[in-house]
Symmetry: C2
Subunit: 108 residues, 2 copies
DNA sequence: TGAACATATGAACAAATGCTCATATATGGA
DNA sequence: TCCATATATGAGCATTTGTTCATATGTTCA
């Protein structure tokens, strides 16, 4: 039943809406970099400010900031200010789901 | 409960196995191109030979072949020969699941 | 065996990407 | 206001990536 919905959804997509694939590819592009995946996984555990992420993952502050910008632009993370820091957190649970999907495939 | 497993799995991954993120990112890289997503979606419907895929998606035979090579190398598709044609199909249902995950996020 | 069809592949090129370095912006406290 | 801390951003650069074009490999059938 759920499978059927999936297939017909994809069929419609292929025949009628080629743009959807760009969107889909663009979404996966975000997860297609190990720095960003690490950041997203880190935020899966708890919200963190930039310097915490940087330290936790051993990635340059600048690099982290650049990647966070991408993540925020694509609405996967949201921010709030706390004093001098800016705290990043996941926008919703989709990220968790998508990472889990991929993880399931890796682990086999 | 399922959420808990997810989180602890990710925590272990971050602290102990940085290589896992490369694998995860590499997996998403495969989905991060619209041609490959289209091909995978097409194969979601039914197995197809190269020229069918090429025609169905309006992508050059050469381009399709190059992408199929990537998909096969990463074990997402398998092949069998039928006369002059080589027929491609999905290796398992993980592809469906992953595409569905992404689709869910797009549709919102 | 030779022609026609089907697929694979290598080289070349343009576009996209992620990092670093330097610097700008913003906040809090002395 | 001045300084230290925190974050963002632009330019430059090296690497990766996807396509095209030409051609090679492989299969069927006359």
């Amino acid at each position: 039943m759920e499978q059927e919905n999936s297939i017909s959804r994809i069929q419609n997509a292929i025949t009628r809406n080629s743009q959807l694939f760009e969107q889909l590819a663009d979404l996966y592009k975000i997860f297609a970099d190990s720095s960003r995946v690490k950041i997203l996984c880190a935020l899966t555990q708890s919200e963190m400010c930039v310097s915490e992420i940087s330290e936790f993952l051993s990635i340059t502050q600048s690099a982290v900031s650049h990647q966070l910008r991408i993540l925020k632009t694509s609405n996967l993370v949201k921010t709030r200010r706390a004093g001098k820091s800016i705290i990043y957190s996941l926008t919703d649970d989709h990220v968790r789901t998508i990472i889990d999907c991929g993880m399931d495939h890796i682990v086999e």
